[in-house]
Subunit: 408 residues, 2 copies
DNA sequence: ATTATTTGTTAAATAAACTAACAAAAGCTT
DNA sequence: AAGCTTTTGTTAGTTTATTTAACAAATAAT
C-alpha cells in the first residue's frame, strides 16, 4: 500500500496503459527469452491481439528482435521466438577505487564485451577524467570499434548525490564535494551518465540479475567488505536512497560504542571491526605482542595473504578470521533484524575464505536475530571474479529501460 | 526506479487509467478540501471534462460530497466545493497493551467519534475477544448508535503477520503464534480486520496524517519508547515489512554487544538502554548504592514520576534522564545513518520530558551521524494525548481507500 | 444592458484494451 | 494424400477512457 504524493504524482494519460504493458512485456521477454507472442499472452493473461501491438512497438524501437522459429512436437503453427535486441549501442561501466579504476564495456543489455581493463586512479578529478577518456577510447577501439556509447555508469566508494553527479564524500579517494558530472560531460559528450555509491550499485545489480529460481527478491541487502564496509539495501524492489541519498550506511552501526576508533570519527562502528585493515591489525596486534620475528613485509601483507596462511593451518591467522567472522555475523544480525531481507549478499576479499568463516558467521547471526526465521536468511556469496561493482555500474545504465513506469 | 516483478505484476486493463486518476483525485480532495472541480483540473493538469467524469464516479460511490458554493471576488460562475464524505460507516481502532486495551471509534475518514474507552486486557485471547466485543458494542451504542462498522484496526506490541492475522510474538502479552483473526471474525462478523505491529502502525499514521507543509515525507521513522522500543520505518512511501513481516526491529540493534541483558535474550540492545524499565533501573541502581531511604513505592514508580522528580530539580532523576537521552540519541544515529529519513518521530512517556532531554539527544545524534545533514534531521514529538497508536490503528482501516493502485 | 470570465457539462475525436473471427502452419487421423 | 485439429499470429470491429472543443450557466466588471 503506497500513499499517493499529493505534490508529486503522475496522472494516467492516454498512453499510460500502453506504457505499463509495454514495460511488462519487455520484462517478460528479458526474463523468459526465448519466448513467443502466444507465450507472452499466456504469461500476461491477456489476448494475443494486444501482444501483437505491444511487440510491434518494441520491434520498431529496436528493443526486441525476432529469432528462429520454435520446433515443437505438438501440432499447430510454429511460434516465432522473441529476444532482447542487444543493438549496436554500448554501456561503459567504471569502478573507481582508491588504487586502480576498472572499466568494462557491455552491450545494451549488459553482456560483457572484451576484457576488463584498469588504470591507476588519479586522485585529481580533472586528471582522472582525462586518463579515463584515454582508456575508454582505447578499450572501445580494441573491443567495440565503431559502436555508439549509450550510457556510462560509475560506482564510487563513498557518498554520491546521484542526481547532481556530485561526489559528496569519498574518503578513500580524498574527494569531498567533487562535481564529476561536468568534466565527464566535457570528456564524453551527451551520453547518459550515472553515478552511484558502490554498495547501492551492487545491491541494484543483484536485484536486476536475471533470477534463475522462481521466487523474486524484493528485499535484499548487499554487504561489501573491503578497505571499508559498503552496504546497499533494496526494499520493495527499490534502492533505499533516503532524503540526502546517504541511506544504507549500516557500516557505522556500532557493535560497541566504546569500541575501536573508526575512520568516520566515531568509536566501535561495525566497519572498525570487520574491514580488511581491522582484521589485519588484529592479526598483527597479536603477533606483535608475541614478539615473534615478522617473516613478511607487513605493509604489503593483504587479507588474501592472511587467508592463505589460514589455509596453511596458521592458528593465529585462523583466529583472526574467526573473530572477523563473528563480528561480521553480529553486525549482519542488526541489519537482518532491521530489514528482514529475503537474501543477504556478501562481497569482498573475505568471501574467498567463506568455507572457513561461514559457520562462525551463521552462529553469530543466530545469536542476535530475533526469530529463528531471521537467523536462517539465505546468504549469497559474490566472488570478486564476478565483478560485482562493475555489474552494478552496468545496471545503472541498462536497468532503467526495464523499470516500471512511474504512475500515480 | 522500480523493477517489475516478473512473477507478480499487474497488467494495465481498460479501467486501470481511470482507477489511477480516480485515486489521485480522491487524494487531492482529501489534502486540498474544500476544492472545486476546476481546481482539481488545474492541480492534476488535465481538462475539466475528465474531472467531471471522475468526480461523478466518486459522488456515486458516496466517497465524496458536494458542499456549499464558493464565494469568490473574481467574476465568473461560482465553484461547487467538494469534500470527502464521512458516510455513515465507522472504523474501530483498538490499541492492545499489556495493562489496558484502548478503543476509539472514528468515521470513515478517521475523525474521532465520542471518547476513547479502555478495559483491562485479558491475556487469554478468547476471553480478550469476548471482552472486546462487549466494550465495542457498548461504545458504539453510546457514541454512534445505528451505524455500520466498516473495518477494525488492531495495533499489537509485538510481531504480527498482517496477512494471516496471527500474532507471532508479543512478549508483553505473552502471546506467541496466537491467531486472533478467527475469534475476531466470529465476534464481529465479516468486517475488514487489520492487525499490525504498533511501531509500523504509528509510522503509517504519520505518513497518512494530512501534512500541513508543502514538502511530502516519503522516508520517515517512528520510534516509540515505552516498556519496550517499537520502531516503524517508511521508505519510498511504503511501510517496510520485510520477508516475514518482522522488519523494523531497530530496538535490538546493539549499542554495546556486551551491554546489559535485553528481554530478547541478547546483550546490549538499544532497548536495554532506553526502555522505561531500563531508565528506571538505572535510577534505582544509583539510589540503592547510595543507601538512602526510599520514600516511595518502587514497584509503582513510573517514568512519569521520574520526570516529575527531575522537574523538581532532583539531580539523580536528571542524571537518569540525561543518560537515557544520550543513549536514545546514539541509537537514533544508527537508524538515521541507515535510513536517512526526512523526519524522525518519537513517541512514548519520555517525550513529556523532551524539553529536558532534547539537547542531549541531539548532541548524541550528531556525535555518530556521518554527515552534518544527517545530524540535523528534524525530530517530531508525538505526545501521548494524540493517541499515536490508536491513530495508527485508524490508518490501517482508512488509508487503503486512498492508496495508489498496484500497477506494473 | 452588455461584455468578459470562470465553472461545469456535453458532444465529438482519438487511443488503447478487448472481442471475435480468420488465415497460416503444422501434426494427427482416416 | 486429403481432411481435421490445434496453435500461432493478424486483422477488423467493439468498448472504454482520455482528450479536444464547444457550449450553457453564473457572476463581476464595464
Amino acid at each position: 500500500m503506497r500513499k499517493i504524493n499529493p505534490h508529486n504524482f503522475t496522472l494516467a494519460k492516454r498512453g499510460t496503459s500502453r506504457e505499463i504493458n509495454r514495460q511488462i512485456a519487455l520484462t517478460l521477454i528479458r526474463t523468459h527469452q526465448p519466448v513467443s507472442r502466444a507465450d507472452l499472452a499466456r504469461l500476461m493473461e491477456t489476448n494475443r491481439a494486444n501482444i501483437t501491438f505491444l511487440v510491434n512497438e518494441l520491434l520498431e524501437e529496436g528493443l526486441v528482435r525476432e529469432g528462429a522459429q520454435g520446433n515443437q512436437k505438438i501440432r499447430g503453427r510454429r511460434p516465432t521466438f522473441l529476444y532482447l535486441n542487444s543493438q549496436n549501442s554500448r554501456a561503459i561501466a567504471v569502478d573507481v577505487r582508491a588504487s586502480r579504476t576498472f572499466i568494462m564495456i557491455t552491450d545494451s543489455i549488459g553482456k560483457q564485451i572484451g576484457e576488463v581493463v584498469s588504470f591507476q586512479t588519479a586522485l585529481d578529478p580533472e586528471k582522472f577524467v582525462e586518463l579515463l577518456g584515454q582508456q575508454v577510447r582505447k578499450a572501445l577501439n580494441a573491443f567495440a570499434p565503431g559502436s555508439v556509447v549509450d550510457g556510462m555508469g560509475f560506482v564510487i566508494p563513498g557518498m554520491v548525490d546521484h542526481r547532481s553527479g556530485v561526489v559528496l564524500h569519498a574518503p578513500a579517494l580524498k574527494w569531498r564535494d567533487v562535481n564529476l558530472l561536468t568534466p565527464l560531460r566535457r570528456e564524453f559528450g551527451e551520453v547518459d551518465i550515472h553515478l552511484e555509491n558502490s554498495g547501492k550499485a551492487c545491491a541494484l545489480s543483484q536485484i536486476w540479475a536475471t533470477q534463475t529460481g522462481s521466487s523474486p527478491l524484493n528485499d535484499i541487502v548487499f554487504v561489501s567488505v573491503s578497505d571499508g564496509v559498503g552496504v546497499g539495501v533494496v526494499i520493495n524492489g527499490e534502492i533505499v536512497r533516503g532524503k540526502h541519498n546517504t541511506a544504507g550506511e549500516f557500516g557505522h552501526v556500532p557493535l560497541s560504542i566504546d569500541g575501536p576508533r573508526c575512520s568516520c570519527g566515531a568509536n566501535g562502528c561495525w566497519e572498525a571491526y570487520i574491514s580488511n585493515p581491522a582484521t589485519l591489525s588484529r592479526y598483527f596486534g597479536r603477533s606483535v605482542t608475541n614478539r615473534q620475528p615478522q617473516p613478511f613485509d607487513v605493509a604489503n601483507f593483504t587479507i588474501e595473504d592472511l587467508i592463505e596462511k589460514a589455509r596453511g593451518n596458521d592458528s593465529k591467522a585462523l583466529t583472526a578470521l574467526h573473530s572477523a567472522a563473528r563480528y561480521l555475523g553480529l553486525g549482519l544480525a542488526s541489519i537482518i533484524n532491521a530489514v528482514d531481507p529475503s537474501r543477504v549478499y556478501i562481497g569482498g576479499e573475505i568471501t574467498e575464505a567463506w568455507d572457513i568463516i561461514e559457520p562462525h558467521v551463521r552462529e553469530a547471526i543466530k545469536e542476535r536475530t530475533l526469530t529463528s526465521q531471521l537467523g536462517e536468511v539465505p546468504i549469497g556469496i559474490v566472488p570478486a571474479m564476478e565483478y560485482p561493482r562493475l555489474r552494478g555500474a552496468v545496471a545503472l545504465v541498462t536497468a532503467p529501460a526495464f523499470a516500471a513506469p512511474k504512475v500515480a
